[in-house]
């Protein structure tokens, strides 16, 4: 054993831990900083905000009633068609043109967006909620695992159409009484889409919970007397956020598309209640003569889905403290 002769201050420094030097900052600021660096997420986010604002505020600015028929001005083309086709029927009063009954397309886009976004978000949130709850319960409580997974199989095999018809018969009247005709249908559709699309989320979450449960910090949590409920909310859920985010981004897209498929099959919202999916479905037979009628709602759906996807990517990175600051 050799005792060092001198006590050099540098030696102490050498043994001192080098901690991060940056001053601490609030969590949300951190997340925001990280998010700012993700270009896709920023573009996606801004687009999402834009479209949300547009559908929320737009109808107050563009006050034309989307359901108002103006049969004399039917089949107007969007004004931009005038650029290459001077003979096209256009009107400044209807910048996006009108449909075959003379409904203003811009107003329809705005109103339709409202419905589509609302259905998308609500159904996605509902399915996330169910999926996460089932997944966590199945993964965390061993005894519930078998029954819950069989339940998942059951829901996977449930056909959505009869389910919708059953729900319509059983619940339309009370829902209509409580939420009005459109609101009632909204609740119904959201519920049906929600309860028929939570299964993949549940599966993924369950798998992740099963592996997380083996991690030492869960054991540590138990040793410091954390209750099961707290363990789930504090330790497990934040750590399965990233697969939940992926499910969420896909879920929003699926919900919007499922709603449009329901409209296409003729079981959905009242016919005069526009949604992007319905506009797209209605316009398909006329897509050669009036391509804008499919392009407008089609692009709106696609861009929203893309935006959510990119935003989800960015958020996933930003919410994970390990990725942050890298």
């Amino acid at each position: 054993m050799t005792e060092p002769a001198t006590t050099d201050p540098q030696a102490i420094a050498a043994l001192q831990d080098k901690g991060p030097l940056a001053p601490p900052r609030s969590q949300w600021l951190d997340i925001w900083d990280q998010l700012k660096r993700h270009k896709g997420a920023m573009i996606g986010g801004f687009f999402l905000i834009f479209i949300t604002l547009a559908v929320l505020v737009g109808p107050y600015i563009w006050t034309l009633d989307p359901q108002k028929l103006d049969i004399r001005n039917k089949d107007l083309r969007p004004i931009y068609t005038a650029i290459w086709d001077s003979t096209a029927k256009t009107a400044w009063g209807h910048p996006f043109g009108t449909d075959n009954l003379g409904r203003d397309q811009l107003a329809q886009m705005l109103a339709g967006g409202r419905a589509s976004m609302a259905v998308g978000w609500a159904a996605m949130l509902l399915s996330l909620l169910i999926g996460t709850a089932v997944g966590v319960a199945a993964g965390f409580f061993r005894r519930l695992d078998g029954p819950l997974m069989r339940l998942t199989d059951l829901f996977l095999s449930l056909p959505i159409l009869p389910l919708l018809l059953v729900a319509v018969t059983l619940f339309r009247q009370p829902l209509r009484a409580n939420f009005g005709p459109e609101g009632g249908m909204f609740v119904l559709i959201v519920t049906i889409i929600g309860i028929t699309s939570w299964m993949p989320t549940a599966r993924i979450v369950r798998g992740d919970i099963l592996t997380l449960k083996e991690r030492e910090f869960i054991l540590a949590a138990r040793s410091i007397g954390t209750t099961s409920w707290k363990t789930i909310t504090r330790h497990l859920l934040p750590n399965v956020l990233s697969p939940i985010m992926v499910s969420a981004t896909l879920g929003l897209a699926t919900a919007i598309i499922t709603e449009s498929a329901l409209s296409f099959l003729g079981v959905g919202f009242p016919s005069d209640f526009p949604t992007w999916g319905k506009m797209l479905a209605d316009a398909v037979p006329r897509m050669v003569d009036f391509p804008e009628r499919v392009i407008l709602p089609g692009t709106a759906i696609s861009l929203t889905v893309l935006a959510v996807n990119y935003l989800g990517d960015g958020l996933r990175d930003a919410l994970d403290p390990r990725m942050r600051g890298r």
Partner: protein
């Protein structure tokens, strides 16, 4: 592994019974009536008679029991008879005559055994929907692999963009769009699928290809989008593993490192995703089948639904549930086979 498999198989029986019962009750609750297609000019008494002729008057539990016996007892007997009599596979076995003209599951719409129609639909479904799935997977895997290997490259970004667009555009739009372009404008491809077409030589195969290409592409677009996302994520996980470094340290070329070492590991979770997607082949292509008139199982289900053909809907949903349970099991077994670390017992 074997005990695991057998155990799961045995457990699957009550699961399936429960699922079938739940679906049956659901369909019972659903409104609608097989007489909806009958014109309004037919008086109600006649409709009532027709309903009774279909056995609709019986209490639901009796109907369920009858259906259960038919599906689980009578239909298998027919299958065994067919296997031992006509099939080339087991035709050498002594002929069995288990089926004694008991009542089979009869479709209300067509008054013919449901199973016969289902079997009739299988070729279309396999040609188009299953092939689309295969094509989708085959496209998705290289895309996923390459986008992960070159993460954040132009290819990766473009791949994400295109697959997400593909994912977000509903098939009831892409289908007619393709038809307008390729059938109407260009006239290259038929817009209506001919299910009676028989492939027996090169020329007929070409025709088959022509009529398949559009529905297959529309369907594959959806599959590709999802599978390639999974593939990419899984590849990314594995590319950072230590064993990849080991492989490189051994002097393996990049191609070997990626396609042998990483791919095999990344495929494990993706294979189960793929396996779990297979059941949807049989029910998930309703709109595309309708647009191109492929008339596979999906179309069968939707027409049966709209015609309130309960036995048909019930049987198809049951087959669907059966497939889901079966492929769940297959996915688990595949997992065990592909990943030597996992052994069920």
């Amino acid at each position: 592994m074997l005990t695991f498999t057998i155990r799961r198989l045995v457990l699957a029986v009550p699961t399936l019974l429960f699922i079938s019962f739940a679906i049956f009750m659901l369909l019972q609750l659903a409104p609608g009536d097989p007489m909806a297609q009958v014109p309004l000019t037919v008086p109600p008494e006649v409709k009532q008679q027709m309903r009774e002729a279909l056995g609709l008057g019986q209490p639901p539990l009796v109907q369920y029991w009858k259906w259960l016996v038919q599906v689980l007892w009578i239909e298998p007997k027919i299958l065994i008879d067919w296997l031992t009599q006509d099939s080339w596979l087991l035709g050498w076995l002594p002929d069995t005559n288990l089926y004694q003209n008991e009542l089979r599951v009869i479709s209300w719409q067509t008054r013919s055994p449901v199973m016969d129609i289902v079997i009739q639909r299988i070729p279309q479904t396999l040609w188009v929907v299953a092939l689309a799935y295969v094509v989708g997977v085959l496209i998705a895997i290289p895309i996923g692999v390459y986008s992960a290997y070159r993460q954040y490259s132009v290819f990766d970004q473009a791949g994400t963009f295109v697959t997400m667009i593909g994912f977000s555009i509903p098939p009831f739009f892409t289908g007619p769009l393709l038809i307008v372009i390729f059938s109407v404008q260009l006239g290259w491809l038929p817009s209506i699928y001919d299910t009676t077409h028989v492939v027996n030589d090169w020329a007929s195969f070409k025709i088959q290809l022509q009529q398949m290409i559009m529905p297959v592409m529309v369907l594959a677009l959806q599959t590709t989008a999802q599978i390639s996302r999974y593939m990419r994520a899984s590849m990314l996980d594995n590319l950072n593993m230590d064993y990849v470094r080991t492989a490189r340290a051994k002097g393996m070329s990049e191609a070997v490192v990626v396609t042998v070492h990483v791919l095999r590991n990344s495929m494990i979770p993706v294979i189960t995703v793929i396996a779990l997607g297979v059941p949807s082949i049989f029910g998930g292509a309703i709109i595309t089948e309708n647009v191109f008139k492929v008339n596979g199982i999906g179309q069968l289900l939707i027409t049966a639904l709209f015609a309130n053909d309960l036995p048909m809907v019930m049987t198809l949903t049951f087959i669907f549930a059966f497939l889901i349970v079966a492929f769940n099991l297959i996915a688990d077994i595949l997992y065990g086979v592909l990943d030597p670390r996992i052994r069920y017992d």
